[in-house]
Amino acid sequence: MSQEAVVSLRNVTKRIGKTTIIDHLTFDVPKGEIFGFLGPNGAGKTTTIRMMVGLMKITQGEILIKGKSIKSEFEQAISHVGAIVENPEMYKYLSGYRNLVHYARMVPGVTKARIDEVVKLVKLEDRIHDKVKKYSLGMRQRLGVAQAMLHKPSLLILDEPTNGLDPAGIRELRDYLRHLTREEGITVIVSSHLLSEMELMCDRIAILQRGKLIDVKGVEEFVGGNDQAQTYLIEASADALAVADIRAMNGVEDAKAVSEGIEVVTGRDRIPEILAYLIKNDVDVYGARAVRQSLEDRFLEMTGGEGIG
């Protein structure tokens, strides 16, 4: 995996004064992967990203982007990177187009045609000549993606990319990132506090807490497969007796009555049986669904219940 790694962090440490903000981070991100950073506020997500793009110095350790050190070969390393760090802050007094021209001038080989192409990609054709101060947050976010994509980077780093996007925008961004990784082999690193987003977007997720890497796992491992017990909500007008019966069923770990119906912790394969039982006993069933909070639950479990920003 390491020869293919687009980004490698080796024992990356950041100290400010005596405080260790980032503590020996080591991981690789292979080509074509969407990699997520997850962690509570102050865990060091943004600091790590800032070190990756050279805005902050690395106290100890090394970050390689396509084999080039961000420390000693900054210009070569950074030319592979497109990024948004926190909010995409643009020159508000310039038009969106002028902003793109500004960034295009800083990288060799970005043509006017490429700028138009990127503008089309983020669907800003109608407003690109307006001043950025007239843009909505979502439009600024899209302009941010446009400036990051201008020079066709092989690594896209997006810090909280879904900030300010409406659900349709988030979905669009997600599909777009999928397209980039699948079709163009671009590697994407995102950080987000929207866990459900990470779950849908990422291939692998790294969990950071107090500057330490707690775990790096594939999303499936987090969420759990078919055989693992999960919480399901069955919307039904069930009485206590039915709940007790369900709890006693084979393969059911737990069942309790909640205001909407019954919450059952069980494997997916047990659900038809439970439903059949309820219907047979004349209980009105309105629906059944998995309570998809598993990532959040897992996260809280791993970080010891610290809040998620």
């Binding site: 800032r50 793009v53 050279g54 805005l55 902050m56 110095k57 900054f74 210009e75 070569q76 950074i78 030319s79 990177v81 990024a83 948004i84 760090v85 926190e86 909010n87 995409p88 802050e89 643009m90 020159y91 508000k92 007094y93 310039l94 002028r98 021209v101 500004h102 960034y103 001038r105 800083m106 990288v107 060799p108 400036q147």
Partner: protein
Amino acid sequence: MVNLIANENMKVYRRYRTWVMIGGMIAIVIIASIFDWYYDRKDLTETTWQTEVTADVAHYEKMLADPNMGEDSKDWARDELAISKYRLAHDIAPEDGTMWSGINGAADLIVLITLFTVIIAGDSLAGEFSTGTIKLLLIRPANRLKILIAKYASMIMFGLLLLIILFLISLLVNGILYQFDSTGLPYLTVDSHGIVKEHNMFGHLWQTYLLNGVSTIMFVTLAFMISSAFRSSAMAIGFSIFLLFAGVLMLEIFHPYEWSKYLLFANIDLSQYLDGQPYQEGMTLGFSIAVLAGYYIVFNLVAWLAFTKRDVAA
């Protein structure tokens, strides 16, 4: 590098406030020139310049004859006397009451250029930090030194542009006001042998403008340094403008101390060597240039270190 400077220029000239400043400066030059011209005409006496210069000659001769007069003053009076006599002999009018005095007077407005350039320079770096645009600026394949130099170069270009605009507008306005009379008037100086020389008036004025421009450059560099070190536009602009006006006051206060000749403000006005007395005894043009160069290097070094070595956490 050319692209980076083009970027910085874009950020200066595609901004409304820049044009407000340029427009404001043009308006002030026009108004000030009209005022000057108006009062100049009111003062106009019935006498010709020849009678006035003859009176001057008598005055200088009296000064030279006065035993209580200091050696410096006598040197000055001797030079002025030579020029006055030359004027009478060759029929060359003084600049007073011609367009040239108006243009020369407009050189005083260079302090406005300093003011405007300091505002732009103070905001140039710090503004990028306070708006957060610095992050997207620095994650490009251009190292921080190049970006710093590009910003600095665009500031100096802005100052120079204002200087050229000031000169052209004052030339035009004063030319119109004085109906372009005495355009061929030469500028007179006395060399060390007491011989009067004729110079081109244009050249002399540019010398004045450029010498005044030195102070603009120093203040811009100062503002740039503060902008880089503190990453605050308000601080950079405020502090530089404060020094711009407090400098003269500081010179008054510290004048009794000999070390005050090493102060930036004691050396910033190089035109003190063109006409008049230097701030402290024994100061020469070479000394001032050396002191200014020292300050210049320190300012730029601090700006560079503060900008390239520190983390961006904005």
